[in-house]
Assembly symmetry: C2
Homo-oligomer: 323 residues x 2
């Protein structure tokens, strides 16, 4: 299948491109920058278009000329709040552009990378210490501490449903848990605490996280993200359009640090006690992934230890996080 | 005060322009079309700029060149669902453009016309027969049968709050109840049932509404809308940013028809029994307007009889709804 991957050179998209190749598909990577640092071995080897999702006509042109059958739409400005105009234009309107271009060029499906940030505050039994998993019926509401990102994801989901209802475009939204991914520290600094711990430890720098070690959260590795995205592209007749994706289990930030210590011997990491290491309020949770299991055949392949170990090995292989 | 009114020649904006003039203010009407049918007496008499809210640089240019102090942002594509790309681009991104241009040109305040469509379904005690008023703490959620409109209003509110927090731009959102307004039948057909009843009755045409006569709703006249918008422009130090605006009382569609019969003698109107005359699901409600009363000094001036009588007289004076 020919799958356009927007944000295809990014911290998530690069692994979607690799997963597509591994599955025998034909990725068309689209990215606003021709930065192949996460895919150095594939530069010149894969189809690539340098394109901004703000460019509706460009999207349509590429979808038509490359005979795209499915779009995995990952492109986003992160962090989005620093420049709200660009944040909304890229994250919200950019998704509408992808949908409109897909409709015009008769693409069959758009698989959109949404987020737990569409959900209303995860409080009560969903929070510490119970972490009762959140399913897709949890109410959506703009998240006040991530306004541009959250409101854009909600609008994007609504846009996808509208295009599905009005035009028959197939639309799936994957609502991801917290993701750790090689390169995220450099590219998505403010929401990349997990990546910062790994990459600073790899650089031999002391890591100090003042508080939040007791905070539980569903932490997923980017290769599971890629797996889920590819499954969303190929799944036959899923009954639903929204899917929570994570590991389905809670890990604390302290446990994450332990996994990093195991993968980076001698790592100097101190994580203080307490909660809410991101300082964003109640947006930590465990995802109920039974729907993704049932309808997409998704199963997380990486526990915390495996994911962090792979992260470190992968970052080394890519020459990232060098001292 | 110099107030830019986007959508300033539209069914709501035209009355905001008049209300500003009546209050001794200086309106700058901005509209995508130079259609003065609702302001024929003011054509050439008021400041006007033909401009699309998709034109960020144009908005900034006008705000700067006209020394705009406050923007009353009403411009929107209605209905929005028929062309979702244009709907999101005008209603959602257009509002972000207004905010960004206001920030760049140091406008003090943006007063935004939001809607009850930001609210989650009005069910249980908020629905028939109790109609317990909805206040501003009612949860927001995209409304499935008005997706583009609703998701755009929610995103626009979030954008306003973000610009307020990040840049100190003052932002107020007025969440309006159902509005009846001269000219609405022609311009906003699908959500203009109330206007359709009035204007078809004025044309001497029989009006048949198959069902919904028992549906209660908060129905407000456009001159009260204009009053609220101007109050939102001039209010000093309101404590909150979101305000429900309506009449604070429920009227049924049958009662609305009675008011039209009183204002248009001989009108041939039949309204069937039942609920949900718009076929949109649970989005009928009564607004708790105590916050707007307290902080904006807003008080509805038009009951159903007065509003409909004024509508008919106004439409006649403007030469609308002629047989």
């Amino acid at each position: 299948m020919r799958v356009m991957v927007t944000g295809g050179l990014g911290v998530n998209g690069a692994w979607v491109v690799r997963e597509l190749l591994a599955g025998g598909h034909d990725p068309v990577a689209v990215d606003v920058q021709a930065d192949f640092r996460l895919l150095p071995d594939l530069e010149g080897q894969i189809e690539f278009e340098q394109l901004d999702v703000r460019d509706l006509d460009g999207l349509e042109r590429v979808m038509r000329s490359r005979d795209v059958e499915c779009v995995a739409h990952l492109a986003a400005l992160i962090p989005a709040d620093r420049d709200p105009h660009a944040g909304f234009e890229i994250n919200a309107m950019g998704t509408v552009n992808v949908l409109e271009a897909a409709r015009r060029s008769e693409v069959r499906r758009v698989a959109f990378t949404s987020s737990k940030a569409v959900y209303a505050a995860m409080t009560g039994r969903h929070g510490h210490p119970e972490y009762v998993p959140i399913d897709e019926s949890h109410p959506r509401a703009p998240f006040p501490r991530l306004r541009v990102y959250s409101a854009s994801k909600i609008l994007a989901e609504e846009a996808g449903c509208q295009y599905a209802d009005a035009y028959g475009l197939e639309f799936l939204a994957l609502r991801f848990a917290a993701i750790y991914a090689p390169g995220k520290h450099d590219r998505q600094a403010n929401i990349g605490v997990l990546a910062t711990i790994v990459e600073n430890a790899m650089r031999g720098e002391p890591v100090r996280v003042e508080h939040g070690g007791d905070q539980g959260d569903d932490m997923m590795y980017v290769k599971d993200v890629a797996n889920a995205v590819v499954r969303a592209c190929v799944a036959e007749r899923p009954r639903n359009w929204a899917f929570n994706v994570g590991t389905g289990t809670a890990s604390t930030l302290r446990e994450f640090a332990d996994a990093v210590r195991a993968a980076v011997p001698g790592a100097d990491i101190e994580v203080g006690a307490g909660f809410d290491h991101l300082g964003l309020g109640p947006m930590y949770c465990v995802m109920d992934i039974s729907r993704a299991r049932d309808e997409l055949g998704y199963e997380p392949r990486y526990g915390l230890r495996e994911g962090v170990a792979d992260y470190v090995a992968t970052a080394r292989a890519l020459g990232l996080a060098r001292a």
